[in-house]
C-alpha cells in the first residue's frame, strides 16, 4: 500500500513535444484514482512514468516514501494491466500468473498458493491450464488482472483495461473491478478516455487535456463545480451546452442575455458575476437541466425563457435527447422525459434550472464561482 506523488512532473519527447506538463498531484493510499481525458492528453504517459516505462524529463515521482525516477520498473513494486492484456501467449494461465512470482524468487509452495488464491478471487480457477488464445476477451482480461493482484504490489496501474470488451461485459467488469478494489484496497491509477467509466469508478478523477491537469476532484464535484469549460464539456453525456451571453442588471437582478435568451441568475451566483455586468461570459447548461417552460412551474422566473424549435429527437426509451435550435441559429441539446408532442419543427419555450447554471470567463475559460 502506498501513495503516489507527482511532483512537478514534465515529459518532453525528443523533438520537443510535451506530453505531460508540470503535473502536480497526489494519489492517496488505497485510493482509486481515474486519469481521464481525450486521446493525446498525456494520461497514459503520466501512468507509464509511474510504471517506469517512460523516463521522467523533469520533476519527481514518489511511490510510498521513495523517489522512483531512477528505479527500473521491476523495482518500483507496481503492477500494470494493459489494454491489450499482454498475456504471454506461450504460457498457460497458471504460468502467466506465476511468472512475476518466479522472477521475484517466491518459493514454489507460496507461489502455488498465491496463484490459486488470485485465480479464486477472479473466478478463473478452471482456466489455469489453458493458453491465452483459448480464452474469451473477458477471461483474458481477468487473467491480466490476476497477474497484477498475485504480486501484492504497492500500486496497480490500469491502462484502459476495459476498452477491448463489448459494452455489456464492460459494464459488468466495471462493477467487478470496483468490488475487487474494495477487497484488496490497493492504490490504483486507472487510465480511461471514457468519462462514464471515470465517473462510476473513481474515488477521485483527474481530468487532463493537452498534457495539463485540468481538475482533480470527486466525480460529484467535477459534475457540479467544473473548474473550467473543458472539464464542464468533458464530464457528462451529452455534453454541456455553451452559449455566449451578456450579463445585465435589471431591477436589482442579474440576467444572462443573448438574442432569444433571457435567463435570470440566482442570487447566490450574483456576487461572483458582478464584475461581468455589461460584459460577455460563457453560459453553460447541462442537457438534463433544460426544462420545458410550461412544466417549469415555479422552478424558473416567469421571464426566464428561450424560444426554440425542435430539430431532431433521439429516442432512448426511458429518456429522449432533443436537439433544439435557438432564435440565433445556435443549437442546444436537452435531455428530457419522453414526450409525444415533441416532434421536428415544433416551437416551444424552454428554460434552465437556475441553480444549475454555470458561467465561464470567456478569456480564461475558468469557471466563475
Amino acid at each position: 500500500m502506498a501513495r503516489v506523488i507527482f511532483d512537478n512532473v514534465t515529459k518532453r519527447y525528443a523533438g520537443g513535444v510535451i506530453a505531460v506538463y508540470q503535473l502536480n498531484m497526489e494519489v492517496l493510499d488505497q485510493e482509486f484514482l481515474v486519469l481521464v481525458g481525450p486521446s493525446g492528453c498525456g494520461k497514459s504517459t503520466a501512468m507509464r512514468m509511474v510504471a517506469g516505462l517512460e523516463e521522467i524529463s523533469e520533476g519527481r515521482i514518489i511511490i510510498g516514501d521513495r523517489v522512483v525516477n531512477d528505479l527500473p520498473p521491476k523495482d518500483r513494486d507496481v503492477a500494470m494491466v494493459f489494454q491489450s492484456y499482454a498475456l504471454y501467449p506461450h504460457m498457460t494461465v497458471y504460468d502467466n500468473l506465476a511468472y512475476p512470482l518466479k522472477l521475484r524468487k517466491v518459493n514454489k509452495q507460496e507461489r502455488d498458493r498465491r496463484v490459486r488464491e488470485a485465480a479464486r478471487t477472479l473466478d478463473i480457477e478452471p482456466l489455469l491450464d489453458r493458453k491465452p488464445k483459448a480464452l474469451s476477451g473477458g477471461q483474458r482480461q481477468r487473467v491480466a488482472l490476476g497477474r497484477a493482484i498475485v504480486r501484492n504490489a504497492d500500486v496497480f496501474l490500469m491502462d484502459e483495461p476495459l476498452s477491448n470488451l463489448d459494452a455489456k461485459l464492460r459494464v459488468q467488469t466495471r462493477a467487478e473491478l470496483i468490488k475487487l478494489h474494495e477487497r484488496v484496497s490497493t492504490t490504483t491509477i486507472y487510465v480511461t478516455h471514457d468519462q462514464v467509466e471515470a465517473m462510476t469508478m473513481g474515488d477521485r478523477i483527474a481530468v487532463m487535456s493537452l498534457g495539463v491537469l485540468q481538475q482533480l476532484d470527486t466525480p460529484q464535484r467535477l459534475y457540479d463545480v467544473p473548474a473550467n469549460k473543458f472539464v464542464a464539456g468533458f464530464i457528462g453525456s451529452p455534453s454541456m451546452n455553451f452559449l455566449d451571453v451578456t450579463i445585465e442588471r435589471r431591477n436589482g437582478k442579474l440576467y444572462a442575455v443573448a438574442p432569444g435568451v433571457n435567463l435570470e441568475v440566482p442570487d447566490f451566483k450574483a456576487a461572483s458575476l458582478e464584475r461581468f455586468i455589461g460584459n460577455k461570459v460563457i453560459l453553460g447548461v447541462r442537457p438534463e437541466h433544460i426544462i420545458d417552460w410550461n412544466q417549469a412551474n415555479g422552478i424558473a422566473a416567469a421571464d426566464s425563457k428561450l424560444p426554440v424549435t425542435v430539430d431532431v429527437v433521439e429516442l432512448l426509451g426511458n429518456e429522449i435527447f432533443v436537439y433544439l435550435t435557438l432564435q440565433d441559429g445556435n443549437t442546444i441539446t436537452a435531455r428530457m422525459a419522453p414526450d409525444a408532442r415533441l416532434q421536428r419543427g415544433l416551437t416551444l419555450d424552454v428554460t434552465a434550472a437556475p441553480e444549475k447554471l454555470h458561467f465561464f470567463d470567456p478569456e480564461t475559460e475558468y469557471g466563475v464561482y
Binding site: K74, M80, A86, P89, Y99, L103
Partner: protein, 287 residues
C-alpha cells in the same frame, strides 16, 4: 481476372474458373517442368551404368537402373557430406541465435543511433564475397583458424548476421511492445525477456532463418574452397567439383553426386517449406 472469359449473364457471384484460369495453370506446370529438367537429368544419369552414359543418351531413361553413379559418388562424397553437416549445422544455429539477439535489441531496446548501427549491419549483405577474400584469409590466419572447418563456421556465422538480424528484427517488430513492457514490470530483465518471452514465440522466424541459412551455407562453394585447403576437410560442394576435375569425367558419378549434394537442402525445404512461406508472409502473433 479471367482473360477472355465473358461474364456470365446473371451468373452466381462466385469465382468462375474460365479459360484464363486453365491457361495460368498450364503455364505454371510448364514452368515447373522446365525447372525440374536438371533434376531429371541428374537423377536418370546417376542411375545409369557408366558405359551407357553419352551426351546423346542423356535424356533417355536408364536401361538397367544400376545406380552405379550414386554409389561411386556416395563413396567419394560421404566424408565431405559429413563435413558439410559439421559446418552447416552449427553455423546455422549460431547465426540464427545471433540474428535473434540482434533483432531483439534493434526492435525492442532501441538506443540512440541504433537505426544507424542497424543500417551499417545490413550493409554487410551488399558486399561481394570475392572482394573481401584476402583480408578474410589474413584475419583467419591471425586467429589460427585458417584451413580449419571451425574457421569456415566462423565465416558463415559472421556472413549470416546481416540477413538473420533483418529477418528477426522484422519478426520481433510484430510482437507487441506491451509484452516486453509487461515482462519488465513483472521483473524480467533484458536477457530474461529474450529467453523467456521472445525466444519461445519466435519458432516461425527460426524456421525461416534456419532454412535460409542452412541452404546458403550448404550451397557455398567460394568460402569452402578458399578457407579450407585440405580436400578431406572441404565441404561437399568443393568435393563435387573435384569429381569432374580429373581427365576423364565419369558423368554418372557427377550427376549422382550433384543429386546427393542437393538432397539435404531439398529435404529441409520439403519438410519446412510451408512454414517458410508462412513465416515470410506473416510472422504475426495475434489472436
Amino acid at each position: 481476372m479471367a482473360v477472355g472469359a465473358p461474364p456470365h449473364a446473371g451468373g452466381a457471384p462466385r469465382a468462375h474458373r474460365g479459360a484464363g484460369f486453365y491457361l495460368v495453370i498450364a503455364a505454371l506446370i510448364l514452368a515447373s517442368l522446365f525447372y525440374l529438367m536438371p533434376l531429371y537429368v541428374m537423377f536418370v544419369n546417376g542411375m545409369k551404368d557408366k558405359s551407357y552414359m553419352t551426351l546423346t543418351d542423356m535424356w533417355r531413361l536408364p536401361q538397367d537402373f544400376s545406380a552405379s553413379g550414386f554409389r561411386i559418388a556416395w563413396d567419394a562424397l560421404k566424408p565431405n557430406m559429413l563435413n558439410s553437416f559439421k559446418i552447416a549445422i552449427p553455423a546455422t544455429i549460431l547465426s540464427s541465435l545471433l540474428g535473434a539477439m540482434n533483432g531483439y535489441l534493434f526492435s525492442k531496446w532501441k538506443f540512440r543511433g541504433s537505426d544507424i548501427v542497424f543500417t551499417l549491419i545490413l550493409f554487410g549483405m551488399f558486399i561481394p564475397y570475392q572482394s573481401i577474400l584476402v583480408p578474410l584469409i589474413q584475419t583467419l590466419q591471425k586467429l589460427g583458424l585458417y584451413g580449419r572447418w571451425e574457421g569456415l563456421v566462423l565465416v558463415h556465422v559472421i556472413y549470416g548476421i546481416p540477413i538473420t538480424s533483418l529477418i528477426f528484427r522484422n519478426y520481433f517488430a510484430n510482437v507487441p511492445n506491451e509484452l516486453v513492457e509487461a515482462a519488465r514490470i513483472d521483473g524480467a530483465g533484458l536477457i530474461g525477456i529474450f529467453w523467456q518471452i521472445l525466444l519461445p514465440l519466435s519458432a516461425p522466424a527460426f524456421v525461416v532463418v534456419g532454412i535460409f541459412q542452412f541452404t546458403n551455407i550448404w550451397n557455398d562453394f567460394l568460402f569452402g574452397v578458399t578457407v579450407v585447403f585440405n580436400p578431406a576437410d572441404q565441404p561437399v560442394t568443393v568435393a563435387l567439383n573435384n569429381l569432374s576435375g580429373t581427365t576423364s569425367v565419369d558423368w554418372t558419378a557427377v550427376m549422382g553426386g550433384a543429386m546427393l549434394a542437393a538432397l539435404p537442402t531439398m529435404i529441409v525445404y520439403m519438410l519446412l517449406g510451408r512454414y517458410f512461406i508462412r513465416g515470410l508472409l506473416s510472422g504475426s502473433l495475434k489472436g
